[in-house]
Symmetry: C2
Subunit: 270 residues, 2 copies
């Protein structure tokens, strides 16, 4: 009883206000589409706004669903739909084995997965991703060289060793390559660039695996490039790091060509 009334009244209000606003333009008589978004959207937006405004800070527990439902004058199911919305955006999450939801800041991983979906579904091709890497990675390497600390160096070396010692046909090797890029990003101390580049190496991974399989010299060339880059980063030689990374990324493309993989191959998922 109460709910149909509420629903009708909100819909009616928005319709009439829109109509009233547009009523005076007589000439072409254009109306903007009457905005009519479901309750779960509004609830989600309301909570999202509170989070972005820092009224709810990361780590805070959200009020119980029932409380929210009462505050918004909405059924619990509706609140739940809104929560799923926020959950998928990474704004709230449930710590493993906890009951209440807590506010959280979107992690890099979530952004990256969204990016991956977008790239895959838009049939983005290998060249496009490669081009982006050509733009970003050398600079990241240069920044990393300038800012790395001892731990970064250590981690990079460890991954490099892991790559060298990975067995011949190991499908895990590409994973290690991706990790190398990630660590370099971390050493560059720029979260924006990290976010931007995060997904690049990852979406390339599947085809990279095929490439490494087909091109015998690929492994050693990658290992060599990594060694040189680590060397430059160790010496805090930004220019050198940039140059070698540039060469390294360029090599990827050459590898693809040698492997007979077309540059227009769309990146794929897994």
């Amino acid at each position: 009883m109460a709910q149909p009334r509420a629903r009708r009244s909100t819909a009616g209000a928005s319709a009439t206000s829109t109509a009233a606003k547009a009523h005076r333009e007589l000439e072409p008589l254009r109306f903007e589409p009457v905005e009519r978004d479901p309750a779960y959207t509004r609830v989600a937006r309301a909570i999202e706004a509170k989070i972005l405004a820092r009224e709810l800070r990361a780590g805070d527990a959200l009020p119980p669903e029932m409380d929210l439902a009462q505050q918004f004058r909405v059924h619990r199911s509706t609140v739940r739909e809104a929560l799923r919305r926020l959950e998928s955006a990474g704004l709230v999450k449930r710590p493993p084995g906890a009951k209440r939801m807590v506010v959280s800041r979107p992690a890099a991983a979530e952004l990256a997965s969204g990016m991956r979906h977008a790239l895959v579904l838009h049939d983005v091709t290998f060249v496009e991703v490669w081009e982006a890497m050509m733009v970003i990675e050398p600079e990241v390497a240069a920044l990393a060289a300038a800012r790395r600390d001892q731990q970064d160096l250590q981690a990079l070396t460890a991954v490099h060793e892991a790559f060298k010692s990975s067995p011949k046909g190991d499908p895990h090797a590409v994973e290690v390559v991706a990790r190398f890029f990630e660590l370099l990003g971390a050493a560059a101390r720029n979260r924006v660039l990290v976010l931007a580049k995060q997904s690049l190496a990852r979406v390339l991974a599947p085809s990279l695996a095929r490439m490494i399989d087909k091109v015998p010299q690929a492994r050693s060339r990658i290992a060599d490039a990594q060694r040189r880059i680590i060397g430059a980063v160790h010496d805090k030689n930004a220019e050198e790091a940039r140059r070698w990374m540039s060469k390294h990324v360029r090599d990827f493309k050459r590898g693809y060509e040698l492997a007979g993989i077309s540059p227009d191959t769309p990146v794929s998922v897994d």
Copy 2:
């Protein structure tokens, strides 16, 4: 009646199988946390998988919620929660004034909004964003110079004019600046870079507005830079485009310094 049974059986099954698998290693006896994710998550993942595998293609209408519920042997509410998940990821959406949901590819705007949330909530500072722009924008300009067509030029010029003719204290001017960067991205014909850079100019917008207000010569410097960049793009002079964009972005930082805005100011929302 049927549902509690189903719930119990899945939980029990995963628990016992995990235990059985780990049962033989006696030494440290490590168990991985028993995975127990709610039904709405699984449903969402199942549908997501079908989309990424192209079994559901962009534009296809999803089956009605009730059908999905029956197929998954799950209540309609559960399906709905899963759908909200996908909706927020941009994998499905409802075209305005349509009933069924249709599969869609995540638009740049959604990715960008996620990125914005992340940057804001992680207290990313102005310099970090600026640094990313320094890396990306000049190369984008260079690519744009190489690949622009007549329409790109036209659009860029239009926006440039709009900026020049925007009144003195117009808060809309920063919007126009952001648009300029977007158009340049479009002209560069690389969707990966567009996605990566999309949110940069936007998160800067609020503080950019303050900067323009405080620094009298900012407007004319921006206008000048735009003119030069458009000129280089017009001449297909990549090198020149890169140089001017580099200068342009560097100028932003100088503007901030002149305006007395600290480089460590966190980017804000709206």
